[in-house]
């Protein structure tokens, strides 16, 4: 399997009033394509910051990050934006849909920034929504949908550009257990179809559905755990 992500001695500092906060203190690991990985840790452990760096939303203070062998330090902000558009799909805890925009248009949003005209956008979005079981909700507004449905719209949006990797930040955090289970099943299905997925969570039950858990504590990886039959 191809190595997608390879990081070494990654640190991230934030300037605060009266000092510097060391959020990440030398993190190293790699993720291959096709993996279903959980990054688990308590709040404040630095797991979200780690995910932002891995997803090109933020830059490390030091250390190296190779994405498909390419050092992202050399890339400009615009190049990172294009990389996010092409390679990354994000799913967030609070769904992050545009409220006044239809479900269909929300799913199509990343297509606005691919850099060329997409002619089959509607078809692709409809297919994606069909895959998450929402083909009957195309023209609804997000606030007319349940939490579980909204999160499935977000997953359809994350998949529209057929990315190399999906980052899901506490994807079940705002959902009841039934909807949460549905969403987790969706991730597992996607994994079986060959998608690479990184779950960021503080919830051990969620994390244990992955094949591998990276335990984060105080800005460091304290354990790289393989789960058999996860």
């Amino acid at each position: 399997m191809e190595t997608l992500i390879s990081i070494k001695d990654l640190t991230k500092d934030y300037e605060l009033e009266g000092g510097v906060a060391n959020i990440l203190r030398g993190v190293s690991f790699s993720i291959s394509s096709g993996e279903l990985v959980a990054i688990m840790g308590p709040s404040g452990s630095g797991k979200s910051t780690l995910m932002h760096i891995l997803g090109f939303l933020d830059r490390p203070t030091s250390g190296t990050y190779l994405f498909r062998g390419r050092d992202i330090k050399t890339l400009s902000d615009d190049e990172l934006a294009r990389l996010r558009n092409k390679e990354i799909g994000f799913v967030f805890q609070s769904f992050n849909l545009l409220k006044r925009t239809s479900v269909l248009d929300n799913v199509k949003l990343p297509l606005s920034y691919v850099g060329y005209k997409v002619t089959d956008g509607d078809e692709r979005a409809k297919k994606g929504l069909d895959a998450v079981g929402l083909s009957h909700r195309l023209h609804n507004r997000p606030n007319q949908l349940s939490g579980g449905e909204q999160q499935r719209v977000a997953i359809a949006r994350a998949l529209i550009n057929n990315p190399s990797i999906i980052f899901a930040d506490e994807p079940t955090g705002n959902l009841d257990s039934k909807s949460g289970a549905q969403v987790m099943q969706l991730f597992k299905d996607l994994h079986h179809q060959g998608h690479t997925i990184v779950l960021v969570t503080h919830d051990a039950t969620v994390a244990h559905q992955a094949h591998r858990i990276l335990h984060v504590m105080d800005g460091q990886i304290v354990q790289d755990e393989k789960i058999s039959g996860g």
Binding site: L57, A81, S112, Y113
Partner: protein
Amino acid sequence: MLRQAIVQSLKNLLAFKARSALTILGMVIGITAVVVIFSAGGALKAQLNSYIDSFGPSTLQVEVKTPATSKTSFSNASSMAMGANITTFKLSDLDAILKLPNVKDAYGMLMSQEQITYKDEAKRSFVLAMGAAAERIDQTKVESGRFYTDDEDRGLARVAVLGPELKKKLFGDDDPLDKYIKIRRVNFKVVGVLESRGASMIINLDDAVYIPVRTAQKLVLGVDHIVSSVIQVNDGNLMDETVAEITDLMRQRHNTPTADKEDFHVTSMEEARQMMDTVFGYLTFLLVALAGISLLVGGVGIMNVMFVSVRERTYEIGLRKAVGATQSNILWQFLIETTIVVLVAGLVGIFFGLAISLMISLVATAIGFTWPFVLPFSAMAVGVGFSISFGFVFGILPARAAAKLDPVEAMRFE
């Protein structure tokens, strides 16, 4: 991308109707003002120009004027307005001017408002007492009959030529030729009716009766002066020299060696036109500058609202960046939105401006002025141009603020 941004902007505008309306109000007022200034100004200028043209080319005017003495020009103007009567300008002055080499023709003029009677029909109207040369110099055309002659003027003939409107008022559809009308108890025989010349600046030339100037002096008004005269020159290129010669001659004859004692004023039409152009230029500049202040205030208002909009949509901007929008994508989105807001303001402003100009034209025409509705293309171009450039100028700061947002921070903002 562009189409999408435009559609998105219009959606946002419509989503906040009241706010959008208030946002563009300042700019709408500014652009309305610019359009009205150009349109009304254009109409006024066309009007003044046609008035000047009506005197024909290569003409100049000599008019009476209150000597300046030690008074300011303001008190001079007010004494004129209050009817100070200068009676020193005589037809003999005009005879002397006619002897100058470059002077071709000339007529003197008096004006009065009188009761004009035909049978039991009485109308108050202007009596324009003019020398017979008026027909030649002003290129006056008769609809029927003829204009009076120099001989009739010298012979104090009681003959009159009617403007077409006055003819209609007094005679209706009847033929007025060889009928008699009464001006201050003096009977005049109607010898002609003029073609319509349209309303002029001050008086309606069609609603007037024209009689020989000497007849008017001796038999009607009992005076021996004139108030103005129109002089035609042979060679228009020697206009300046001729103005100087006439001024010299008049100074000698009126014994007014210095300019401040002069009781007359010589103006060439070209000079009048230039003066008018200059005044108009300054006036337009001043008014546009004032309207510009309104545009500026409107623009700052729009900038302010765009900042609010960026702040309100911080979360949206963060999300767009997360799914791959570059800084320039976001910058353009907001620039286009601002430009569209301003462009809408521009179009609404042009619409109101044209509506107001049209109304001014209609009202002015209804109360008797000739006031054409001028489509101010230059103003519309200026309006749209202003809009687009103001959109960029006032949109750039909010748009840059939006483009530079950190996506992680922005998405936390709800």
